[in-house]
C-alpha cells in the first residue's frame, strides 16, 4: 500500500480534532472492492481508493476520522476483511494514527 500524500500544512483543524471512538483493521488483500462496507457505514467514514489497488487489482476501503466501532462493515463484508476495535477513551484523529 502506498501511503497517501501528505500535506505540507497538515490536516485542517476540524479534521485533527475529530472525535474517534473506534477503528478498524482492514485486510486489503482479501478485499474485492464491492463497496458494500461504504454503503453500510452509518458514520460514513469509509472511502474506496480511486487509484490504489491491491495485488489482485481491486480497489479497497480506507478509514476517515469519525469511526464509532459499530461493526456494520464487518457484518456485511462478503470477504471478511474487517476487525473492529473500540478505544477505551475517545481520541482525536491525530492521536488515532492520522497519516497526513
Amino acid at each position: 500500500m502506498t501511503p497517501p500524500e501528505s500535506s505540507p500544512d497538515g490536516p485542517a483543524p476540524e479534521v485533527a480534532e475529530t472525535v474517534v471512538r473506534g477503528t478498524v483493521v482492514i485486510d486489503i488483500e482479501a478485499c474485492k472492492g464491492c463497496d458494500l462496507c461504504i454503503e453500510a457505514c452509518k458514520p460514513d467514514v469509509l472511502r474506496m481508493t480511486t487509484d490504489e489497488r491491491n495485488t489482485r487489482g481491486y480497489r479497497y476501503p480506507q478509514l476517515l476520522p469519525g469511526c464509532t466501532g459499530c461493526r456494520a462493515c464487518a457484518d456485511v463484508c462478503p470477504d471478511f476483511c474487517f476487525q473492529v476495535w473500540r478505544y477505551d477513551t475517545p481520541k482525536t484523529w491525530t492521536e488515532a494514527g492520522g497519516l497526513a
Partner: protein, 269 residues
Amino acid sequence: MNRRNNDELRVIATEHAPDDANQVADFTPGLIDVGEHHLCPGCGEPIAIRAVMDAIALLGLADTCIAVFGIGCSTAFSNNLDVEVLQALHGRAPSVATGVARVHPGLAVFTIQGDGDMANEGLQEVLHAAARGENIVCIMLNNGVFGETGGHLTVTTTIGQRTKNTLDGRTAAEHGHPMRIAELLAQIDGVGYVARGAVNDAGNVARTKRMVVEAFTAQQAGLGLSFVEILTMCPTGWFVPTDEAPDYLASTLAGTHGVGVLRSALEPA
C-alpha cells in the same frame, strides 16, 4: 477531485490493531477458511453462509453437523467450510439430508441450496421432506436468479426484477408469477420453524443470524423440518452496480418476499 484529495489527507492507518483499544469481537469467522473464494464482488452468499456457520459455532454443533449442498454458486464456497459437507444432485439436497438424518438421528443435518436449486430443480424434495417432518434444517439462499449457470430467471424472481432473460424486468403476462417458498412451506404440518431473512444491511444480517440459531434450536428439539430463506444480493445476475445491490434487493425481492418469522413451534423466549 478535490474531495478525493481531501479524503486522502484524512486517512487513518488500518494495517495494525491499536495498542490501547478493545476488540469489539473477533470477526474472523470460526468455521470458514477466509482465504480467497470464487464468489463475485458484492455477492450476498458468503454473508448468509457466515450467518449459518456462526449459528452452528454458537450452538456448539460444529463437530456434530453435516452440511448437504445442492448445485449453485454456493457449492464452490463449501470448500471453504470447516464442517463435514456432502454434495447432492441438483435440487436433491433435502432427500440426501433425509437419508443422513435417518441413519444418524443425533446429528444436526442441514442443507444449503440456492433458489434455482431448491425451488426450480427440486421443489418437491423440500415439500415432501417438510410433509414427512424430517428433522433437518433447510437453508435457501434466494437471489431470484440462476447465478451459476448464467443469471436467468427462477420461480422466485419478482415482478419487475432484472435477470439475463428478463432484462426489462419480469412481467406476469410474459414470464408468469413468482412463488413465495417460505409461505408455501409454512402451511405444511411437518414444519417446526419457517423464517425469511436478508443480508442487505447489518441489521438484517443480525436478524438472519438469530433466525438460523432458532432454526437449529428447533431441529435440536426435534420439532420437524426447519426452513430459513435468506435473500442475498447478486449484482452480477441483476446487472446492477455492487453498491446499489442492497437497495435493489430491498426494493424488488423484499417487496414480494417479506422478511420475518412465519412459523415457529419454539416456546417464546
